[in-house]
């Protein structure tokens, strides 16, 4: 063990002056706010602090960077769902925790409530771009499947149908958040959904 641990392979040239994860997070936030077509490279340079050539070398062109932010979003959502399923809370409380987290996230944003990047920006580009459409489809399937898995584990006999409806409410929460709905309005809708499934 005289060598440095191989978790840092000590690459050869000049080391990077940035953390790829943080940069991806900053890019995600800009894309979530303004959408794909509405975000320029100057915007991304401004948001990430990196110059164009650094962005290009690390992630590829604008579209590849956008696709990377979508992948990141899908992975993080999947982990959040798995954590909720593993928490083993009772049905009603599981749904309340889920909607609370969703609403908290949707109400954040650089300039105001920005909702969900998949629902509000990737859906816009999905018609023109098959790869973006595939990411959006994978995300929606993830929502449907993970919520169904949660409901099955809590003994809901109508898990599949209820999961689709809960996913639909999540989509609408994103739309409503961007439309300027208040937290109370979003929570009322979530509460309606919880009552319908668990009430």
């Amino acid at each position: 063990m005289v060598q440095k641990s191989d978790e840092t392979p000590r690459r050869r040239g000049r080391p990077r002056g940035f953390d790829a994860g943080e940069v991806l997070g900053a890019a995600t936030e800009r894309f979530r706010t303004h959408g794909y077509a509405g975000t320029s490279l100057d915007d991304l340079v401004d948001a990430t602090g990196l110059q164009r050539p650094s962005l290009y070398a690390a992630f590829g062109d604008k579209r590849a960077l956008y696709l990377a932010t979508l992948e990141r979003t899908i992975e993080r959502a999947g982990r959040a769902f798995d954590q909720l399923i593993g928490a083993d809370l009772p049905l009603e409380q599981s749904l309340k925790v889920m909607f609370r987290a969703v609403i908290d996230g949707f109400l954040t944003g650089e300039t105001g409530p920005s909702g969900c990047i998949m629902v509000s920006t990737s859906a816009t580009s999905a018609v023109d771009d098959a790869e973006i459409r595939a990411r959006l489809a994978a995300f929606v399937r993830l929502e449907d499947d993970k919520i169904e898995q949660l409901l099955v584990a809590r003994g809901d006999p109508l898990a599949a149908a209820h999961a689709r409806l809960a996913t639909s409410v999540i989509h609408s929460l994103s739309v409503r958040a961007r439309a300027g709905a208040t937290r109370d309005e979003l929570e009322a809708l979530a509460s309606d959904c919880v009552t319908m499934i668990a009430g």
Copy 2:
């Protein structure tokens, strides 16, 4: 009655070579497909057959034209809801007719299923533009209110909550259509919602 009927006020100069309603419809379709930022003036010239200065004289700049397409969409949706309410069908059938019409519309599009222009494109621009956000908020409120009005008229004691959930399903149908969902999948979700409200 020697004069022409005043329904055609006989304006003074050269008459227009286009129908404003048709042009607005063509612009709506382009905006619905590619979003606001993703639609260029060249696209609009191509879609409408009008040259730039004619578009400008008739509707103003690109943003004003987009806002006009949103207004048109809101008005048409309002009329469709009123017609459904006036049709006086029983509860379950009213909902089925509504979802059928929604799904039919969402599955159309220039290059593929394009969903709802409000949910899939105005939501994207709503964060940056207060007027677009106001139109989106008005549209969502229209959906909630008109569906509640329909449910109240059919004797649903949970009309308000059920209306919000039905609106949410409509929003999700738009997202799912753009994600590439099949008609069967969309109809299954709509059926879940009808069962939940009327079943």
